[in-house]
Amino acid sequence: MYTEKVMDHFEHPRNVGEIENASGVGTVGNAKCGDIMRMYLDIDEDGIIRDCKFKTFGCGAAVATSSMATELVKGKNVQDALLVTNKAVMEALDGLPPVKVHCSLLAEEAIHAALWDYAGKHGIEIEGLVKPKSDIHEGEEAEEEEY
């Protein structure tokens, strides 16, 4: 069901771990829903993301999107990191099954949450960054089911 790229990132996830004294840390998701993603950012004085690590409790897609997201934001400045949307992550992974799109949203939100944390701590405003939802599932609406 997953593309080769997804499987590769799942089997060999890049940047797993924590960053001590990270510039920003963001945690999103909800263990009740079976997915939690935590993103650590190490950002230099010029606003360049020097390093990025993650820890994820979630499905294969959640792991792969975390891994890909860390790869994509590394080296970018905080403003450009906002361009790493869930769509960008999915494209970089050659796509995800429809039922797994929300896992990539989790990755986007985790980056935003880490950036928000960083911005708050440093009194910076990142254009276009809004306060992330604390629970990615909050805004979702249940799909209509008919029996």
Binding site: M7, F10, E11, A31, G34, K55, F57, G58, Y147
Partner: protein, 387 residues
């Protein structure tokens, strides 16, 4: 496919080669419509009759109490929906359990929308239906109790005989979804006071897309699929002769070696249960220790999520399942695990291993090593672990 280790026999089983051989002539030689008058139709009809007899005798039932269907889900839907409609005049209340298969639960949701009332009885922490609660739930307008024989996720076997006795004493019909139990453990419909019973061929090395519903004589039967006169006018549709013949062979095989097969499975099961308990920290065996299907192991591993675990097992050629295969595609944690009291995050990290008699202890060793390695790897990646 290489050296696979298949441990998902509760989802579906390999069709036995003997079953396939038995089916073959009915595709290209005895392909006649059993309802027809000429000889090749007659050959097909005889074959169907023989299977009906074999299934009836395996349950202590009569031949004309067995109706072939397209599988377990159809049997469940038929049993619930058509019976509810047939007994509408008596009442519109049905009792079932919280850990039924979705084929039962969603049929119940449908009935609720049609104005029926359903009581979902609790189970204890091992997944056993609370009999006192069940009995208290019976009302004058209760027409049917439906409790599964054995659970597909955690393998818990229900006190079916006791439930049957309660139902009989209170004049309520009793249906059991025996999709996981039939041809795995002995069942006697009279001794257990079972009025209706669902089964599905592919759960015991028969083909997919064929099942049956047992309906005790005297019960008002409405059709669910309306049309031709097949199955004595109760289930329309040209008989799936090859499916029926294949299921019949699978019944023969299963019943001829049920004891040895169960003993072999229990050995594998208990080996898995013991070693995992001893060697993997933060784990919990789900389901009852004793009243348990011979083939079922279900563990929750804290801090990790089931799908990741499954994919990594798959990469090592191990086929397993997390929750019920029938509901994958859904991302909700298993309603069964929640019903036995697991918190959501733990329910998400569950693994079901269901063996067959073809598995070996050597395979179990490989599987246990793989589980240990993968659980460790995923925990290292988990933000919940050592938090």
């Amino acid at each position: 496919m290489g050296k696979l280790i298949y441990l998902d026999n509760a989802a579906t089983t390999k069709t036995a080669p003997e079953v396939v051989s038995e089916m073959l002539p009915y595709f290209t030689e005895n392909y006649g419509n059993p309802s027809s008058i000429y000889s090749i139709g007659g050959t097909a009809k005889e074959a169907v009759t023989k299977v009906r007899e074999r299934i009836a005798s395996s349950l202590g039932a009569k031949n004309n109490e067995i109706y072939f269907t397209g599988g377990g889900s159809e049997s469940d839907n038929w049993a619930l929906i058509a019976t509810a409609q047939a007994y509408e005049a008596k009442g519109k209340h049905i009792i079932t359990s919280k850990i039924e298969h979705h084929a039962i639960l969603h049929a119940c949701s449908y009935l609720e929308k049609q104005g029926y009332e359903i009581t979902y009885v609790d189970v204890d922490e091992n997944g056993i239906v609370k009999l006192d609660e069940l009995e208290r739930a019976i009302r004058p307008d209760t027409v049917l109790i439906s409790v599964m024989f054995a659970n597909n996720e955690i393998g818990t076997i229900q006190p079916i005989k006791e439930i049957g006795a309660i139902a009989k004493a209170r004049g309520v019909l009793f249906h059991t979804d025996a999709v996981q139990a039939y041809a795995h453990v002995p069942i006697d419909v009279d001794e257990m006071n079972i009025d209706m019973l669902s089964a599905s061929g592919h759960k015991f090395h028969g083909p997919k897309g064929i099942g049956f519903l047992y309906i005790r004589t005297g019960i008002k039967i409405r059709s669910f699929i309306h049309g031709g006169q097949q199955e004595r006018g109760r289930r329309a549709g040209t008989e799936n002769v090859t499916g029926i013949v294949g299921m019949g062979k699978a019944v023969e095989l299963s019943f001829s070696r049920m004891e040895e097969s169960a003993a072999k499975q229990k050995e594998l099961r208990d080996y898995l249960i013991k070693r995992i308990k001893e060697e993997v920290p933060y784990c919990r065996l789900n389901g009852d220790g004793v009243r348990r299907l011979p083939n079922n192991v279900n563990y929750s591993f804290q801090f990790i999520e089931g799908e990741s675990l499954l994919i990594m097992l798959d990469m090592k050629g191990i086929c397993a399942s997390s929750g019920s295969a029938c509901t994958s595609g859904s991302l909700d944690p298993s309603h069964v695990l929640l019903s036995i009291g697991l918190p959501h995050e733990i329910a998400h990290g569950s693994l079901r291993l269901t063996v067959s008699e073809e598995n070996t202890i050597e395979e179990m060793d490989i599987v246990i090593d793989a589980i240990k390695e993968i659980v460790d790897k995923l925990r290292k990646m988990s933000p919940l672990y050592e938090d």
